[in-house]
Amino acid sequence: MNRPANSPPTARRRSARYWLRMSATLLLFMAVWLVWSGYMKPLLVSLGLLSCCIVILLSTRMGDLEEETGWLGVLPRLPAYWLWLAREVVISNFTVARIILSPRLVLDPVMVTLEADAQDPFGQAVLGNSITLTPGTLTVGVETGRLRVHCLTQAGAEELLRGDMNRRVAALTRR
């Protein structure tokens, strides 16, 4: 951890954004606990609250909550993106299924490099995962904003380089 040596481990000055992030994370953990336990007895709920608080404490000490990943701001824009992504996934699934089931496998695998429009690591991670989730394209490396993508066909590579998904992810994770 790179905090000044003379400040105590529990620094008093936490930003308002930290508290917002922390309470959002706590709410998420608590919702997961309630869904998976399904019991509303006071003892079990308070045990759940206790374990959620311990996890929050541990993440704070690990510095996980210091980083500004911006996932909170993404939430309202997420449903529209998911709908679009689901459409893409369905289309490319049918394409790849047809390739697999054709009697002669006609493959033309190519490797391309894609410049990510999204500047921050979070946006690039979302882009890489979206590319991998769509069958026919596969992220195999990301380095300083450049994604190495393996494509099953050249048509898929051209579709990817047209940059529709790239632009949408950049708009999604914009601050």
């Binding site: 689901a86 596969l138 992220t139």
Partner: protein, 112 residues
């Protein structure tokens, strides 16, 4: 209405199972490692979406629906992450498998 929902959920369940099966066949038929990964991504994307979506429709609105959808969300986030780790490890190890470089718009191509 209930019958329509029922039929839709059955269709999703069977369709998802079909896609999972096609992915399995592809993982066996494909000639090299990276193309096999594409086949297996078929069983990691639309397969779970349809199977678990069908199950969620079957269960109506209950705690089970939320659990099934949470499993689906978890699979859809961790699946590509694991696939990326695998593909990255394989490409670092130098697996190629008849793949050629393709460049359309980007002249500043870094050496692979």
């Amino acid at each position: 209405m209930a019958i329509v929902l029922d039929a839709l959920s059955w269709a999703m369940l069977v369709g998802g199972a079909l896609f999972v099966l096609i992915g399995g066949i592809g993982a066996l038929r494909m000639p090299d490692f990276f193309t096999r990964m594409h086949a297996s991504s078929l069983t990691d994307s639309l397969g779970p979406m349809l199977v678990l979506g069908g199950l969620a429709l079957q269960s109506g609105w209950s705690l089970e629906t939320v659990k099934v959808l949470a499993i689906l969300l978890f699979l859809l986030i961790t699946g590509p992450t694991a696939t990326y780790a695998l593909g990255h490890a394989a490409s670092v190890a130098g697996l190629k498998g008849g793949t050629r470089e393709y460049r359309a718009s980007d002249p500043r191509e870094p050496r692979a």
